[in-house]
């Protein structure tokens, strides 16, 4: 079920919205509209549905309208035209057409937000910041305290609860921001470039932490990023935007292997496959190999040995037996390469406990080539 659904959403900033909308319908571009009416076209005709419990990443260059689209969801930006539907209490609410009381209710109970500049209250302690949303809702003090402690434990900041927030490093402050967003148990999380202000190592770690938390919390997350690596790593669905319009929406594989246009292709050319591709993409399925009796012959003289129940049991090289080295289907390429480098033998990929494919060193090199081939295939 879609938790959030955008239907032909336009966002226009400025006084002359009617006229700007009329010009938009005539097919005028953003700069023409700006020149004629002085209004800025933030988002044009965006249709998108975000499934419950998934991460949807809005991606694009600066000024492409990512924030404008995101901020419609909790009403920080107005929806000029179109519908923005959110399932709420058995009915659907249209953000384009909502009473201020209902908006406040949604913001308190259903939608939380994480900001690029953290947006923490500097005069409050870490715990008070985490409890902010609850306090606004009027939750009793000791209850606020209890929940805040719980969420602080979730982001590993329990020891810092009584410190003022500005004594924390940037990465820690953003963890406080995350804990604050989790605290109200809002099932829709809006994140506007939450990790962009952090240095790369911390960013990477927080991405991992977010993915880890998401496994159990299963929130609907709309995440803005200008980094395709981040988008591919986090997003179940990736939405590429360019000057206010949605260019392509799809899975990581769609974006990488079927880029919709030159703009997307240029992004793909700059990704780092180590963080984006995973074992399931790298492997060759067992069914692709020629089987002779109970053996499959892999590259470089390696042989995969099967037992009587048709399960692979060992690897052989020049009559020497080696135990199998297995990896999960979802393992990032980075880890695949690491394991390959350490073990120096073909790797078996398991899905639901069964071995479904093999990755040899050649497969790894091949996938690297394929990715680079793709990104340089057509000269820009």
């Amino acid at each position: 079920m879609a938790a959030v659904e955008f239907k032909h959403v336009d966002v226009i900033f400025g006084k002359d919205q009617k006229q700007a909308a009329a010009l938009l319908d005539q097919g005028k571009t953003r700069s023409e509209i700006l020149a004629e009416t002085g209004s800025v076209l933030g988002v044009a005709d965006a249709s998108l549905s975000v499934e419950e419990g998934t991460i949807c990443v809005l991606m694009g260059l600066s000024g492409s309208g990512k924030s404008s689209l995101l901020r419609c969801v909790n009403g920080l930006n107005p929806v000029t035209r179109g519908e923005l539907l959110i399932a709420h209490k058995g009915t659907t609410v249209d953000m384009a057409n909502i009473s201020s009381r209902q908006l406040r209710e949604l913001r308190r109970d259903r939608i939380a937000m994480v900001f690029q500049q953290f947006g923490l209250l500097p005069w409050c302690t870490v715990r008070e910041n985490v409890g902010f949303g609850l306090a606004v809702k009027g939750v009793p003090k000791d209850e606020v305290q209890r929940i805040a402690n719980e969420k602080l434990a979730l982001v590993n900041l329990s020891d810092w609860a009584d410190k003022p927030v500005n004594e924390l490093s940037g990465g820690m402050q953003q963890r406080v921001g995350l804990a604050r967003a989790f605290a109200t148990d809002a099932d829709i999380l809006l994140m506007d470039e939450p990790f962009s202000a952090l240095d790369p190592l911390i960013r990477d770690r927080l991405q991992d932490e977010l993915l880890e938390l998401q496994k159990t919390l299963k929130r609907t997350i709309i995440f803005v990023s200008h980094d395709l690596n981040e988008a591919l790593k986090l997003g179940n669905q990736i939405v590429i935007m360019e000057s206010g319009r949605i260019i392509q929406a799809g899975t990581a594989r769609d974006i990488i292997f079927k880029p919709a246009n030159e703009y997307v292709r240029r992004f793909v050319a700059n990704i780092n496959p180590l963080h984006v591709l995973y074992a399931g993409v790298l492997m060759r399925p067992l069914t692709q190999f020629n089987r002779t009796q109970d053996q499959i012959s892999l590259d470089e003289g390696w042989i995969l040995q099967f037992d009587a129940t048709n399960t692979p049991i060992s690897l052989r090289l020049q009559n020497q037996e080696y135990p199998l080295q297995t990896l999960d289907y979802d393992t990032w390429m980075q880890d695949v390469v690491e394991v390959a480098e350490q073990t120096d033998q073909p790797l078996c990929v398991t899905q639901a406990g069964k071995i479904v494919g093999v990755i040899t060193h050649k497969d790894i090199l091949h996938s690297l080539l394929r990715q680079t081939a793709l990104s340089t295939e057509q000269p820009m």
Partner: protein, 283 residues
């Protein structure tokens, strides 16, 4: 040019007539306001004078400790107050203190809400700005006369003039504090469902508090600087001996009373000044 001088605009006359009109039409209002204020101020002064001096000194020293945890300040407070007693101006100091504190109280009560409203409504600020400029630049003696007419001689016209003079500081600084709240904080508040009221109390006021407190200290200092002028319209306090010394060309007396004012100023400034900490988290 002759034409210009011959056809003088009767600005002063209009204002004078306005004040007269007020005085005639609303005399009852001004009289009763004056009476109420006078009762409050004189009552407070009488209560403080009635208290033994050592108790007051101990109280102020305790306040200094409670606010700043500094033995240096406590020692300074005790010694300076003892010096004032020694100079023989204890009662006058209390009278001045009461005038200054009430003026500041009224200034904050009017100024802070006005500053908040101005920060939320740019149009109001546009209207308010020239008025505030006027209140701060117009020579005090000019509005001393109408206040004298409306409120009669005594402590009340002193209080009113002081308020007019000192009011601009808290308004401006409150406006500054509230309007410099970073947008991210406002949006963080909104996105967690703050109502306007919650936004003010949970985000804007805490952020602006250091600036508002700076307004408070400024307001106290401005009020103190009005002490001598207040004495001219009959307000009791340290201004009186100064005025008397001026009239009798008495250097010693003038200097001693002036010293008492300076001591009080330093003491109040140290007491109410925030520890030199920037608004937390300000960039």
């Amino acid at each position: 040019m002759d034409w210009l001088t011959e056809h003088k605009l009767p600005i002063g006359k209009w204002l004078g007539q306005g004040v007269d009109l007020l005085n005639q039409q609303a005399a009852g209002f001004f009289d009763s306001l004056s009476m109420v204020l006078e009762t409050i101020l004189n009552g407070t002064t009488a209560a403080l004078v009635w208290l033994p001096a050592w108790l007051l000194i101990a109280g102020i020293a305790g306040l200094a400790w409670w606010l700043h945890r500094s033995w240096g300040l406590v020692a300074f407070a005790v010694l300076s107050l003892l010096l004032i007693i020694n100079l023989g101006y204890w009662q006058e100091t209390l009278e001045t203190l009461v005038l200054v504190l009430y003026a500041t109280l009224f200034c904050m009560l009017i100024g802070v809400p006005l500053g908040i409203a101005a920060a939320h409504h740019p149009l109001l600020y546009t209207i308010l700005r020239p008025i505030l400029d006027l209140m701060q630049t117009i020579p005090t003696f000019v509005y001393l006369i109408p206040t004298l007419i409306l409120f009669g001689l005594g402590v009340v016209p002193g209080l009113i003039s002081t308020i007019i003079f000192a009011l601009a500081a808290p308004v401006r600084l409150t406006w500054l504090g509230i309007s410099s709240v970073p947008n991210t904080l406002i949006e963080a508040g909104k996105s967690f469902g703050c109502s306007k009221h919650q936004l003010l109390w949970r985000i804007e006021l805490p952020y602006a508090m250091p600036t508002i407190m700076a307004g408070l200290t400024q307001c106290i200092m401005l009020s103190l600087s009005m002490v001598v002028i207040a004495a001219l319209v009959g307000a009791d306090g340290l201004g009186k001996p100064v005025v008397r010394a001026l009239n009798t060309v008495n250097i010693e007396k003038g200097f001693e009373a002036g010293l008492a004012i300076v001591i009080l100023a330093i003491l109040l400034d140290r007491l109410f000044k925030q520890p030199a900490k920037q608004p937390a988290g300000a960039p």
